[in-house]
């Protein structure tokens, strides 16, 4: 049941992305989609149950460690993209005086 709730989070992020008038709102929605994707992968890795993948004491079954290793990479990638996008937002504001997509795109000529 729980993977389906995470899919709803991803789709809400997509809805926000497709209706956001503001550049910063679009960057928020990309962060939401990314966190939703990570949660989906961890949920699907944990379908069978099992304990934390650290082998200190004797355990009989562990959760799949590969999704966790991959998702650490995705978090770092997501944060670098957010940092780059926000720096571009600041520069856009200082050049165009506003952060709305319509105003920024409209002033090209």
């Amino acid at each position: 049941m729980s993977p389906i709730l995470t899919i709803i989070v991803i789709l809400i992020g997509l809805y926000g992305l497709a209706t956001s008038k503001n550049i910063i709102k679009s960057v928020f929605c990309v962060t939401i989609i990314e966190a939703g994707v990570i949660l989906l992968f961890l949920n699907l890795g944990n379908l069978e149950g099992g304990s934390i993948p650290i082998l200190g004491n004797v355990i009989e079954n562990i959760v799949d460690p590969i999704p966790q290793a991959l998702m650490i990479t995705t978090i770092v990638i997501g944060s670098t993209i957010t940092a780059l996008a926000l720096m571009l937002c600041i520069k856009i504001f200082h050049n165009y005086g506003s952060v709305e997509w319509k105003e920024v795109l409209g002033r090209e000529e």
């Binding site: 992305l17 960057v27 699907l44 993209i81 571009l88 856009i92 997509w101």
Partner: protein, 536 residues
């Protein structure tokens, strides 16, 4: 294990290490190290090619000696070797073009070489998550290169490109998740054997849909290509040549890798859907290109329409059409970067981007005039040049069905007319413009022109050497020359009576702007269309 077995790893790390070294040391002569990087890459490629031919069992390199199902692996087959050679050639020619202007700019050369190393990595990797990491890395570096000039429009084009491609790459990641959980591995070669066993499960088909739509954002297919003209209009000519010459091709390469090398015999062959998608992309791209006035925008929309033609070729399972698509990717990389480089030189000398303000190129800059003629002839498919070879091979995908042939004719007609409009640059009196002496730039353009001519004339031998298939395209038939002459005539007529008058629809197309949320809306619609086609 001979040293040559590990060479593909050096393809990735030679440019990366040289880029970091150039960034670290501030001495001016250090930037010439980048040429050393290109030469070592060429040598490494040819050494590896000999090794690759002699022993076919060593094509797979697994890092760390782990089992193939666990570790990350590089795989070298004929497809990605041609792409590796193509990207090394294009990167070195662009380095020649940019070096005069960027001699002191260590940061720029760092980004340029880092992008080359990452691009070569993306082409060779055989692991899906690794491909995702490389896709994101290419997106980040290209965004920085697009907004390198720090002008207002470049920031806006940079963020538009970054966000749209990140959404596409995230959906590519969701596809990887589903595949990993159903098969336990993300190694493309293993998946090729595992997928047919459970091909009809909804998970496998759904993962295919999500990955293909994620990739088609980056490959600039029909509804999702709006980022490409924005990025080209702003980036410098060297960067836009790189962008349309190679980065779009990277996404098409991943498309081929998924479509032919992973989901090979799964029942849901979508070749019909992607063929029509290619046709629509080509038509829309040409329509936009005819209506543009800015030189770079014309070339950018032409990249979109040529991507449509490539998609028509790649999506076919009919061999000649498929190899026609692949050859068109290689040809397009050559003549499109040539066009962009020549346009960049013209913009710098005439200080204007508008096509109708540039006149008399043939007399003031004869070299650029000749180079432009070669490029324009090959893009519009004149015999004796490489455009003709790949277009006539792609025509096999269209044979026999009247509607498809008519549409293909329409696309070629559009290309010819818009390049007649572009060729008005050549005529006119001699302008008194002083030519800045830049030998390296001229050499790079001549090399590209020779490349176009070379493939056009010796395509048979090249086909044998790389793919070992014999394709006979009647080059010296007089019917082809006549065919092309008719094309030119109709194009001229169409140009004079329709395009010159600049009617209402052309103005509307020129000022057509798509904001970010409608681009995402189209992405969602595209996802649903592919979903419905597969599941009904």
């Amino acid at each position: 294990m001979p040293f040559a077995y590990q060479l593909p790893i050096f393809f990735v790390f030679i440019p990366v290490i040289f880029g970091v070294i150039i960034y670290l040391f501030k001495k001016p002569w250090i930037t010439s190290l980048s040429f050393l990087a290109q030469i070592t890459l060429f040598i490494a490629f040819f050494v590896y090619h000999q090794f690759w031919l002699t022993n076919p069992e060593h094509h797979l390199i697994v890092f760390g000696g782990w089992s193939e199902r666990i570790g990350i692996s590089f795989y070298a087959d004929s497809l990605n070797l041609t792409f590796t050679l193509l990207s090394i050639v294009i990167f070195s020619i662009l380095l020649l073009y940019l070096f005069q202007f960027r001699r002191k700019d260590h940061k720029f050369l760092f980004f340029f070489l880092f992008l080359e190393g990452v691009f070569l990595g993306m082409i060779q990797t055989n692991d899906l998550f690794n491909m995702f990491v490389f896709l994101e890395l290419v997106t980040v570096i290209v965004t920085v290169l697009i907004s390198y000039q720090k002008t207002g429009p470049s920031f806006q084009a940079g963020i538009y490109y970054l966000l749209l491609n990140t959404v596409g790459a995230l959906f590519f990641l969701i596809g990887i998740i589903f595949l990993y959980n159903t098969f336990g591995t993300i190694n493309i070669l293993l998946l090729k054997d595992l997928i047919p066993l459970q091909g009809d499960r909804t998970v496998v088909q759904f993962a295919y849909i999500i990955m293909i739509s994620g990739i088609s954002v980056k490959a600039a297919l029909f509804p999702l290509f709006t980022w490409l003209p924005k990025a080209h209009g702003v980036a410098q000519s060297g960067i836009s040549a790189l962008l349309s010459g190679l980065v779009v091709k990277g996404a098409l390469y991943v498309f081929i890798r998924l479509n032919r090398y992973m989901y090979v015999n799964v029942p849901l062959q979508l070749s019909e859907l992607f063929f029509w998608l290619g046709v629509v992309t080509a038509l829309v791209g040409v329509a936009f290109a005819i209506s543009q006035k800015d030189m770079k925008q014309i070339l950018a929309y032409h990249t979109v329409s040529q991507v449509g033609i490539m998609m028509m070729g790649i999506s076919q399972s009919y061999l000649t059409a498929y190899y026609g698509g692949v050859l068109h990717i290689i040809n397009h990389a050559l003549f499109k970067s040539l066009l962009f480089l020549a346009a960049g030189v013209l913009i710098k000398h005439y200080q204007t981007k508008k096509v109708y303000e540039v006149r008399g190129v043939m007399r003031t800059f004869p070299l650029i005039g000749i180079v432009l003629i070669v490029a324009m002839l090959s893009i519009s498919g004149a015999p004796l040049l490489n455009g003709f070879v790949s277009k006539s091979m792609v025509k096999y995908a269209v044979k026999g069905d009247f509607i498809k042939e008519a549409l293909f004719f329409l696309i070629n007609l559009g290309t010819v007319t818009s390049f007649i409009k572009f060729s008005t640059v050549l005529f006119g009196p001699k302008q008194n413009l002083v030519k800045q002496k830049n030998p390296l730039q001229d050499i790079s353009m001549i090399l590209l022109a020779v490349g176009c001519l070379g493939i056009g004339l010796f395509y048979k031998e090249l086909g044998q050497w790389i793919y070992g298939l014999s394709v006979t395209v009647k080059l010296w038939e007089w019917v082809n020359w006549l065919d092309y002459a008719i094309f030119l005539a109709i194009g001229l007529v169409f140009y004079h009576f329709v395009v010159k008058k600049d009617y209402k629809p052309f103005q509307f197309l020129r000022h057509f702007k798509l904001t970010f949320e409608s681009a995402n809306y189209l992405f969602v619609a595209y996802l649903v269309v592919v979903l419905l086609v597969v599941f009904t």
